[in-house]
């Protein structure tokens, strides 16, 4: 008998296989040359390229790409590993810069109602702006597409971290602060040894939301700035009408996003505590 904890994964695999089967079955077979009309022959069999490829083609493609992920044959032909590395580099740089700013400011806002009231209007106006709306301004001011992409990641990651940190810090139980006070801890030690661990789960929630958003935004940003990265890769393959590669890279984006999220979930459960 199958242990019950294997049931859900097994069902997931079955569902996947049946969906892929349906997809494969619904994909029209490639016509052989004799069956093509004159027009189709003239077009060089272009309609074959334009159809949505079946899963089998994507699996073959994935195998090819993943068996040699880091080759570099010039600007329009780089391995998927290299493209992902570029995207991750931009995401992590922008994200870390955002964390360096958001965490201390979030702490300040959380601890001081005055700072909260002063900064709140700015946050409320800046937060709903789509990160991509900053792109033209960033390109104009920074004059560098690479740095502009990093800036866009920075600006979109900052808000969830900032708001969650402020919220977590402001809602630390008064009793715990009193424990620090009765033990004569200074402000810095109170912040580090009581407020930080108390607010850590909330802060990590914000950081996890931020990394998710950053990964969503990098694809769009790279489609705009071009050159390298997984977003550019998707766009480039679309221009080549290579839908197999497009679908393959979409899947890779999903898997990398999932891994990033899983990483943060790990950290989050490490700082989680039960009251």
């Amino acid at each position: 008998m199958i242990a019950s904890r294997y049931k859900a994964p097994l069902l997931s695999v079955l569902l996947l296989l049946s969906l892929l089967g349906i997809w494969e079955a619904l994909t029209p077979a490639v016509k052989s040359a004799e069956d093509m009309t004159e027009y189709e022959l003239l077009m060089g069999g272009a309609s074959e390229e334009a159809r949505v490829p079946p899963p089998s083609a994507i699996i073959v493609k994935a195998f090819e790409e993943l068996s040699n992920p880091v080759y570099d044959n010039g600007p329009n032909d780089k391995g998927i590993g290299i493209q992902i590395a570029y995207s991750l580099y931009r995401v992590l740089t922008g994200y870390l810069l955002a964390a360096l700013l958001a965490l201390p400011i979030g702490f300040l806002i959380g601890m001081s109602p005055l700072a909260y009231k002063t900064l709140d209007p700015f946050i409320q106006v800046l937060r709903p702006i789509s990160p991509l709306a900053w792109m033209p301004l960033a390109l104009f001011i920074i004059q560098d597409s690479e740095a502009s992409a990093i800036f866009v990641i920075f600006i979109c990651s900052i808000w969830p971290m900032l708001i969650n940190t402020a919220f977590g810090v402001a809602n630390v139980r008064k009793d715990w602060i009193n424990v620090a006070r009765t033990h004569e801890l200074g402000n810095l030690r109170t912040a580090l040894s009581v407020i930080l661990p108390a607010a850590a789960p909330t802060i990590l929630t914000g950081m996890r939301i931020s990394i998710g958003i950053a990964w969503l935004v990098i694809v769009a940003a790279e489609m705009l700035v071009g050159g390298t990265g997984i977003g550019y890769y998707v766009w480039n393959e679309w221009n080549n009408l290579d839908l197999t590669s497009v679908i393959f890279s979409i899947l890779v984006i999903g898997v990398v996003g999932m891994l990033l999220d899983a990483l943060f979930a790990r950290v989050q459960s490490a700082v989680q505590y039960q009251e």
């Binding site: 009193n178 033990h183 108390a198 009251e275």
Partner: protein, 319 residues
């Protein structure tokens, strides 16, 4: 009680707490002109109806809150904020939930003795956990994995481990079941009698107060509450829960307390009976000493079964 020094450890003068009324009228006076002293090594309990300001007074003594007027001084110096010479045990334990029991105690010890090595801090902390019956593995558990009684033990161990001059306890056993409460009361007595600690404790349990205290301060009802009486518990130590009810002083004291809480606490706060207590120390009474008239004014024992329902809540466990 153990160490006698003629100057009190703590002096509270004309302590008053008012809240501005929300509609701009007369401010709400929670308590007014509370005057009392606490001597070195003394175990003092304070009893009064809920809302009369006991927690506020304790928080002022802890330095966590400020009064509207009045002075609190410890060894002649005015208390201006919290300090390590005063340890606090809160009703809700206030353990840091992300740390193990041992780490929670070590947190206090590290703050108190910053020069100690990690091993010294650890050993000292572990010793104090053992004193309240923890250890043998339970020190590694987080507060969420401990029962209410165990959490309160950790909290008491943390307070004792920093060896404060004054220990402040706000209804420390209020949330515990009667059996656990009894055990921890015994532990508290044992730990306290082996030290020269001065204790100020809020309780709503008359029997608990008689078991533990050298002296019980009685507060009249709010608004305009005040510390009306200081009842000396003339029952020799060591006291044991099982024997104490057979002491001839027990029921006179108990009846005096119950009488105060059921009737006099209310009467004293009625406007026509209210006295100006400015610079007035509470009346010291010895209901347990035979011959004192207090001993004769009380109803015959045992009073437990005749208690009105509201009183049962106040008195907690019956002997």
């Amino acid at each position: 009680m153990t160490m006698t020094d003629n100057t009190p450890l703590l002096e509270i003068q004309n302590l008053t707490r008012r809240y501005p009324s929300p509609d701009g009228g007369e401010p709400l006076t929670v308590f007014e002109n509370a005057n009392f002293d606490i001597n070195r090594g003394e175990f003092v309990c304070i009893i009064g109806h809920s809302g009369c300001g006991k927690s506020t007074i304790l928080n002022v003594l802890a330095g966590l809150d400020t009064a509207t007027s009045g002075v609190v001084s410890m060894e002649g110096r005015e208390i201006g904020g919290p300090g390590l010479e005063r340890g606090v045990v809160f009703q809700n334990y206030s353990l840091l939930p992300w740390m193990s029991a041992l780490k929670n105690v070590m947190f206090g010890v590290k703050a108190r003795y910053p020069d100690w090595t990690r091993k010294q801090v650890r050993d000292h902390s572990y010793k104090h956990l053992e004193m309240v019956g923890l250890g043998q593995g339970s020190e590694k558990r987080k507060p969420s994995q401990l029962s209410g009684g165990m959490r309160q033990r950790v909290s008491i161990a943390r307070a004792f481990a920093i060896q404060p001059k004054l220990l402040l306890l706000d209804e420390p056993f209020g949330a515990l079941d009667a059996l656990t409460r009894g055990t921890i009361q015994d532990e508290l007595i044992r730990v306290w009698s082996g030290s020269d600690q001065t204790v100020f404790m809020i309780t709503h349990d008359v029997d608990e107060a008689i078991l533990l205290a050298d002296r019980i301060l009685l507060m009249s009802n709010g608004p305009f509450a005040t510390v009306a009486e200081s009842v000396v518990i003339d029952i020799p130590r060591p006291r044991r829960r099982a024997d104490i009810i057979h002491d001839s002083a027990y029921y006179p004291i108990r009846n005096h307390l119950v009488d105060f809480l059921t009737t006099r606490s209310r009467e004293l706060s009625q406007a026509e009976n209210r006295k100006n207590t400015r610079n007035q120390k509470p009346l010291t009474v010895h209901p347990g000493l035979t011959g004192s008239d207090e001993a004769h004014t009380t109803q015959p024992e045992p009073p437990a079964d005749n208690n009105p329902p509201s009183l049962t809540m106040l008195t907690g466990t019956q002997p």
